[in-house]
């Protein structure tokens, strides 16, 4: 049983019809989330991470959005499900928390009402009093002081960090199997960020849930992830365990991301260039236009097949195919940053 992943995503493609043509935000990616683990999807803004996670339970607005591919949850194909079957899963088995706690709660209702709604939608037999008691317990658990009194407060009476705590309480209301956390700490200041991450970690142990964590912040990744998927322009560049990726980043894009970490590498201005036009992505590797090592083979065909270079560590780069010298990319990164980067991350 433990071999079947909790969530299994296969060739997930999400497109949007726009005036300029079809925009492919997520382009045939696959990933698994295992029981009890935290999978991080990493990539710069606009790389399709959020759309990918919102495609899992089809939160993407359709039209203009169109989700294709298979998503299996506990072996059940949820892409084949009707809207009403899907609603049973949403919130109940797969819960979401979002990037911006300022707007994620409805300002017209008390936070207690909103948590109780999450409970009673999935368990209609629960009385108002029982739902209230459970909501108060949850608020207490996520660290809202004086939870009984604050049940009747409105979202605007809470700070950003507290609102994210309320969102977490709401997500936990039905004891989900999977929590999708889409940049849950990005809008918060650093001290609050650390508190929320610690809270999520505690709750994961307590509730035994899996977490699919989306972030662009590698510092956060190092803190929370078991495994990492690196996304760029709707494609997966590299994936692997957190130690493999931080110690031996194989893809030039991953290496470039690592070098952006404070105190790592020599560059201080990030990765030169910008994301390709999603309406008209380049041939070959999506990262080729910004890659220092790109050769002609990188600019033709499709994104290179992922190649296994370690236990569960896979990379989508031509240099790891037979006939290429992978030390070209490896050497280069060793020469600039890997020696310091590995040392630095190892100490974290």
């Amino acid at each position: 049983m433990n071999d079947t992943p909790l969530l299994s995503v296969d060739s997930l493609t999400t497109t949007f019809e726009t005036d300029g043509g079809t925009l492919t935000a997520v382009d045939g990616i696959d990933f698994d989330v295992r029981e009890g683990e935290t999978l991080c999807i990493v990539g710069e803004s606009g790389s399709g991470k959020t759309v990918a996670t919102e495609s899992v339970t089809r939160l993407v607005k359709s039209p203009p959005g169109q989700v294709e591919g298979t998503v299996r949850f506990r072996g059940r194909d949820i892409t084949e499900m009707s809207e009403s079957e899907l609603r049973e899963i949403r919130g109940n088995n797969i819960a979401h928390i979002f990037q911006n706690p300022q707007d994620a709660l409805n300002h017209c209702y008390t936070i207690g009402w909103q948590i109780a709604e999450a409970i009673q939608i999935h368990e209609p037999d629960v009385s108002d009093e029982a739902a209230r008691d459970r909501a108060v317990d949850l608020l207490d658990r996520v660290g809202i002081a004086n939870a009984t009194a604050r049940f009747d407060d409105y979202p605007h009476e809470f700070s950003g960090g507290q609102r994210q705590r309320v969102m977490i309480a709401m997500a936990l209301a039905t004891n989900p199997d999977l929590l999708i956390a889409d940049e849950p700490t990005t809008a918060l200041d650093v001290t609050v960020q650390a508190q929320i991450l610690r809270l999520l970690d505690e709750l994961q142990d307590e509730y035994g849930m899996s977490i699919l964590f989306v972030t662009h912040d590698l510092g956060v990744v190092a803190n929370v992830a078991d495994r990492i998927v690196v996304m760029y322009a709707g494609k997966v560049m590299e994936r692997g365990g957190v130690y493999d990726l931080f110690e031996r980043p194989a893809h030039p894009y991953t290496q470039a991301l690592m070098e952006c970490l404070p105190g790592k590498g020599q560059g201080d201005g990030g990765i030169p260039g910008s994301l390709p036009d999603p309406l008209n992505p380049p041939d070959g590797c999506r990262f080729a236009p910004r890659c220092d090592h790109a050769v002609d083979a990188c600019r033709t065909g499709d994104q290179p097949e992922e190649i296994e270079i370690g236990d569960g560590h896979r990379v989508s780069c031509v240099y790891y195919q037979s006939g290429y010298d992978e030390s070209t990319v490896a050497d280069e990164s060793l020469g600039t940053g890997t020696s310091t980067a590995t040392g630095g991350v190892g100490d974290d």
């Binding site: 339970t57 899963i89 949403r90 979401h96």
Partner: protein
Amino acid sequence: MGLEWYITRRVAWAVIVTFIIVTLTWALLTAAPNPQVSQAATQAALQGGDPAEARERARELRGLDAPLHERYIDYVTGVYTLEWGWSESRNQPVTEALLESLYYTAQYSVPWTILTILLGPLVGIYSAANQYSWKDHVATGFAFFGYAIPNFFFGIILLLVFGVYLDVVPIVYNTDVAVFSLENAIQLVLPVFVLVTGSIGGTMRVSRNESAEYINADFVKTATAKGVSPLRIYARHILRPTMVPLSTTIVAQLLYLFVGSSLLVEVVFGIPGLGQTTFQAVIAQDTSLVLGSTLFFTFIATVGNLLQDVVYTVLDPRISFDER
């Protein structure tokens, strides 16, 4: 503190506003020549009497010889004790005349108001849910048409088509039919329809634009992610915040049409309601009745605005009534 104190203060303001408007109306009409007095003078002159003496007598008879401040104080006391004077043109107390007219006005105003409040947000949210589809365009086109066409003109056209050519509705309003009867319903269909098309346009547009904004709001995504059904999302999560700006529009639209257009509509359809009564009173220079109906409209507008302010604070908890 709290809602009660807020409402108390708002009511106090409402009384002051009413007072100012009553004073202004009274001042304007006092400054205007009184038709009965001039008529008495003309008559006396025609019959060989002394016009100046007749004018004096007429003024004395109506208490117009008293000093201004006395007449003003008398009037204001009357306003608050519901003694609104005697209508010369209708030969009955002003309050009675107004009540009689209100009886007819209410018969089309009540269904009109209810329909506007129900249909406006519904059509607007329907439009927003189907944004930029043909359904949205039809609803929007309908709204713009109703908003743009003058009510009295639309009324005349409808009366011509359905009353004269198709002969399905009576052309002359019949005051003898019972309030809750088919005949009454039939004769009220057109005025109600005309007024609803007029008021629904603005309401529908505001609710469409506001809810279109909320349909893409993060908290709606949260609700979807919780497993809330689309119907419940519209009814609970989108309608509620939409109602906040919408309540302003609804009250403003209804007041505007009630005070302005309903007069023209009443004249077109021959309904002896408040608008028509006011119109006749102005023509007949029936000072007391004009003052009375002005007072009544003022009252309606003030209460409407008061309701709107209260509804605001109830609908959107972020609007505080403590500091105002």
